[in-house]
Amino acid sequence: MVEVGDKVIGYSTDPGVRNKGASGGLVTAILAAALEKGLVEEVVVLKHINEYEAIPIITSDVEDVLASAGSMHTVPVNLAKYAIGKNVAMPGKPCDIRGVIEQAKRNEVNIDNTYLIGLNCGGTMYPVQTREMLINMYDIDPEDVTGENIEKGNLIFRTKSGEEKGISIDELEEAGYGRRLSCRYCDVKIPVNADLACGNWGVIGELTGNATFCEVMNEKGVRLLENAIDAGYVEIEPASDKAITIREKVNNVMLSMGEKWSEKVFTEIPDGERTQYYMEQFADCINCGACKEICPVCTCGEDSKCTMYHNLEDNYRMSMFHMVRLMHLSDSCIGCGQCTDVCPVDIPLTTIFRRFADKSQKKYNYKAGMTLERPPFLEVMPR
């Protein structure tokens, strides 16, 4: 019997899935069971194209699920929008899950029939930059890579010859490589907002690399896990106290690394210089609209406040589009980094939006995308 709050170590009972999947294939097996036993109609998974590229697919084919096994830190997509209007199960980083929860608040996702398997996340990287990093820092031909993992603060790559090479994330980031900036200062590393919070932190002893630590966060998590156990797809055992402590310790190390980055990035802009700061940041904007389109919390569609008050013929010195978005996202930005990723003129949008949102989110002690709690809108008095 599984209960909310359980912390277990688990793995797939299928040797093939166990070997291929990251950390014993638990997540892959849970997804496959959810699909095969009719808990969901479809699943959202990443279809692997190569070591550095994958594309989200919505599928009811269990073969697609099995083929999606394995971690992909170089595919920084956000899956939230793929869950819209569907009865799906999906694996996701904390920011994927945060996106789904924000969508649910706006009635785009029915959270009751959307099953969320969260994956611990130390950060994701850009594919093109990662290839460059492999050549310059690892002396590895990018085409020789067969897998990667983040362990104990090191980014480890496996090659065709079976060799493993790890370099500390700090060293990589010092050299201008490593994780995306938004991942560096992200403050949710274990997806406690999901139905199941899974990852390899806390998997110790002979199970290292071969099993997943899983925390059951709510009743849906219970259903997911029980469904997979009943179907004979997974085996679990209670996590030891030592495992629980280690998981917590890794989480704390990651969070304090994030805090340091946050202090470094979000230096205070003096009073009187803020308008100038925002004007300068947006000065090169080409009005492509990609930041809105990709935003996993935006549900407005084409006719939205930010586009309605914005016209290319306007002569404002600061874009109305961005002004409205700054306000609009101040209570919903989850800091996923997607807007920065797709900005064709490299405006560090996530940092700008986080800078703006942080003030109000901190003031109301509110973190977007963590629960279904209604956002405290700016015009109301502090609670």
Partner: protein, 486 residues
């Protein structure tokens, strides 16, 4: 129908930004950012973001014979009959680079059987090859822009901004101040020494069917004189690919010359491959009138556009994103589609065989493309040496009280796509002089009639009006107009 995902490149310009087109079970299209693309890291400009509209089902071409829908076999058979009767000296083939290298190669085969060549809309006086990769922009010490990167080739803006962070100085030659430029200089070719270029400098200009060839030559001369590198941006997804099958000996005409030849009756039969002279020429009406003079017009295209409405025969091919094939982008990178559609090559093969040439397959065309790319790498320096000095640049004489209306070419304009660009740019002096009101309209008049337009104020020189949209009052890339408040 199952969801389909296609890896492709944007058809908006020669940069060739990588992306995915997702077609859901209901046939609805959306885009996914392809962050592993070395060309753009998954970033797209305004045009790229609007590709679901560009590729909308209602914009797909349909097979037609004499304005009635037909099956593809009938369309091809009728086209064969026309081409068999056509006189090679009065037959022209045009492809500006809106399709794959393989279709382009197949089109060249058809041209050879017809004893003619494929025209690409750009004069052979200035055919050139990519000289610098886009990443090299970031390393240049001094950059001179003969384009507006924000409007015309947005995905190089980030390269320019990085160059600036790396210490580059950026000069815009032209008339519109650019946020990323350190200075804007309105220079005539005789004044180009003021640009102070050297071997560590980079010139960025562009070449398209309506480019001023004399200006392009001057820019090439400037590069040769100073040792600066030059990057010619191109307007179409496979503009450079069209050069793969061009024989250096063949005379290539600019698009305007080709249309003039049609008007003069020297060209009686025109075959176009994914190229619409009506959209491409600055004056739609004049282009339509010219095309009406043709005896026969055969259009092979994936898109329906004004030229498909005039055509005697339309042979429809699948949308570009779903074609099998390759493209050569502005930096000479060979990019590949994941699609498997071969309708274009197959149709061209049937046409070629029908008029007495050999049938061919997609794989054969692909082999020839790869071979041509190899050969081109070897001849790179030769291909780049096409400059000749000629300083006679004509700029229109603008009489007192008149204005010059100039086109600011951009991807939306090349394909006559709808955008939020229903306004013209003019300067504050003009606003004051005409007494224009904020949020109001300006009335523009030319020989072609009148047009009421909204306006935006920019720091342009006096007398200049810019438009990012083709306007019915324009008769060329530059038109003399008068304006008044309305």
């Amino acid at each position: 129908m199952k969801e389909m995902i296609y890896q492709t490149i944007c058809p908006g310009c020669g940069i060739g930004c990588g992306l995915y087109i997702r077609k859901n079970a209901e046939g609805k299209l959306s885009i996914d950012h392809m962050k592993s693309s070395p060309v753009n890291l998954g970033k797209l400009c305004r045009f790229g973001m609007k590709l679901p509209y560009y590729y909308a089902k209602e914009n797909n071409a349909v097979n037609q014979v004499n304005a009635s829908n037909a099956d593809v076999e009938t369309a091809i058979k009728t086209a064969v009959e026309i081409l068999k009767d056509a006189d090679s000296s009065s037959t022209a083939l045009l492809s500006v680079g809106n399709t794959t290298n393989e279709e382009q190669m197949a089109f060249t085969k058809l041209a050879a059987t017809l004893s003619t060549v494929v025209q690409t809309g750009v004069s052979s006086e200035c055919l050139n090859m990519p000289e610098a990769s886009l990443a090299e922009i970031e390393k240049a010490k001094r950059i001179v822009l003969f384009i507006d990167p924000y409007a015309q080739y947005p995905l190089i803006v980030r390269r320019l901004l990085t160059a600036k962070k790396n210490g580059a100085s950026i000069v815009a030659v032209g008339t519109q101040p650019l946020n990323l430029a350190d200075e804007t200089l309105d220079l005539k070719p005789g004044q180009y020494d003021e640009l102070k270029l050297d071997r560590e400098s980079l010139i960025i200009a562009d070449m398209h069917p309506n480019s001023d060839i004399k200006l392009a030559k001057n820019i090439l001369v400037l590069a040769q004189k100073t040792g600066a590198k030059i990057q010619f941006m191109r307007s179409f997804m496979n503009s450079f690919g069209t050069g793969l099958s061009v024989n250096q000996e063949n005379k290539m005409f600019g698009l305007a010359e080709l249309v003039e030849d049609i008007e003069l009756g020297n060209i009686r039969t025109l075959v176009v491959l994914d190229s619409d002279p009506i959209e491409l020429m600055p004056d739609n009406e004049a282009a339509i009138e010219a095309l009406k003079k043709l005896d026969k017009l055969i259009v092979i295209s994936s898109r329906s556009s004004p030229v498909t409405e005039l055509a005697n025969i339309v042979i429809a091919t699948e949308p570009v994103y779903s074609k099998a094939g390759t493209f050569l982008n502005a930096e000479g990178k060979l990019l590949k589609n994941s699609g498997t559609g071969k309708a274009g090559v197959d149709a061209l093969s049937l046409l070629n065989a029908g008029i007495g040439g050999k049938a061919f397959t997609y794989d054969e065309m692909n082999y020839l493309v790869l071979k041509a790319i190899e050969a081109q790498k070897e001849n790179r320096s030769v291909a780049a040496e096409c400059a000749a000095s000629d300083n006679g640049i004509s700029s229109p004489k603008v009489l007192k009280g008149k204005y010059e209306l100039k086109y600011l070419y951009n991807p939306f304009m090349w394909f006559d796509q709808k955008d939020d660009n229903d306004f013209v740019l003019l300067n504050r002096n003009t606003v004051r002089k005409l007494g224009l009101r904020k949020g109001g309209y300006v009335n523009m008049k030319s020989d072609r009639g009148e047009l009421k337009m909204r306006f935006r104020v920019e720091a342009l020189p006096d007398g200049l009006v810019l438009t990012a949209k083709k306007l019915p009052v324009a008769t060329g890339t530059s038109t003399i107009i008068s304006m008044e408040r309305c």
